[in-house]
Subunit: 131 residues, 2 copies
DNA sequence: AGTCCTGCTGAGAACTGTTGTCAAAAACCG
DNA sequence: CGGTTTTTGACAACAGTTCTCAGCAGGACT
């Protein structure tokens, strides 16, 4: 049976409050700074659970896993500011179709795809324009 | 100054001969089995060099980096069999346009994107059909 | 060809992100 | 409340990758 602990809630909340993708370790130290006594392993476990239940998305960047709360159930992709981490969920229907089609053309089945767009958001572009 | 050592050549060759994406460690042990005395660190260094010079593509899967020789200079994406690792280079012009457009719509600039399609190739689908 | 300099190599240690272990704690059931 | 059973948290273990550093060797120059 699956139990409902305050730790899991804490992770879910912390994830929901963050602007963009966060690493497990950042989340853990953030919670610790708020006085929580949650353990690192627990954060990893909670994140893995959330991700497998579709309540969070994950992506790999520079060898570490980043997580983000997302609208459950809906398939979507992300547009991520590589400077501040701001994330926008985007629909990608044309890409879905394209991926299926390309896979089929080459005899591939059970196609899945990884699609993420990185860029610099308007705010960061303006702030960094002088650089 | 950049030097041309037999180790770098060995890595380049081994990469070119492999069917799909290979991990640095697999490449290293493969070379070792062929009697080479190349070191693991050197393989990592050579792969990083090749990737940064555009002679190899890399992707992250399950926490490890995989590499593959690719046609230098051309921008393309990959269709990868998640069973045997077979890789097909694919053109994705519609996706390129889509990515630029979506980024622009949200005020993002300097858009880059990660697009990879995973599936099961015809051969593996046939072999695993009985499973 | 010989010499020198400097970047490259290889072995292993060190590091980083993640997962496993296990006793103790706490959530759920009645 | 008492019993059962999952979950937790501290820490060890692990895997992949990078760092370190003494010695080696590629290439330029002679």
């Amino acid at each position: 049976m699956k139990r409902n602990t305050w730790q899991r809630e804490a992770v879910r909340n912390a994830l929901g409050e963050s602007e963009g993708f966060v690493s497990a370790q950042a989340l853990h130290s953030g919670l610790r700074e708020q006085g929580s006594s949650i353990g690192l392993a627990t954060v990893y476990r909670a994140l893995a659970d959330l991700a497998s239940e579709g309540e969070a998305d994950s992506l790999q960047q520079e060898g570490e896993a980043l997580y983000r709360a997302c609208t459950p159930g809906s398939h979507h992709h992300h547009l991520i500011c590589r400077n501040c981490g701001l994330t926008v969920e985007i629909e990608a229907d044309p890409v879905e179709l394209w991926a299926q089609q390309v896979a089929a053309e080459h005899g591939f089945t059970q196609a899945e795809h990884v699609v993420d767009v990185f860029g610099v958001c308007a705010k960061c572009a303006a702030a960094g324009a002088t650089r």
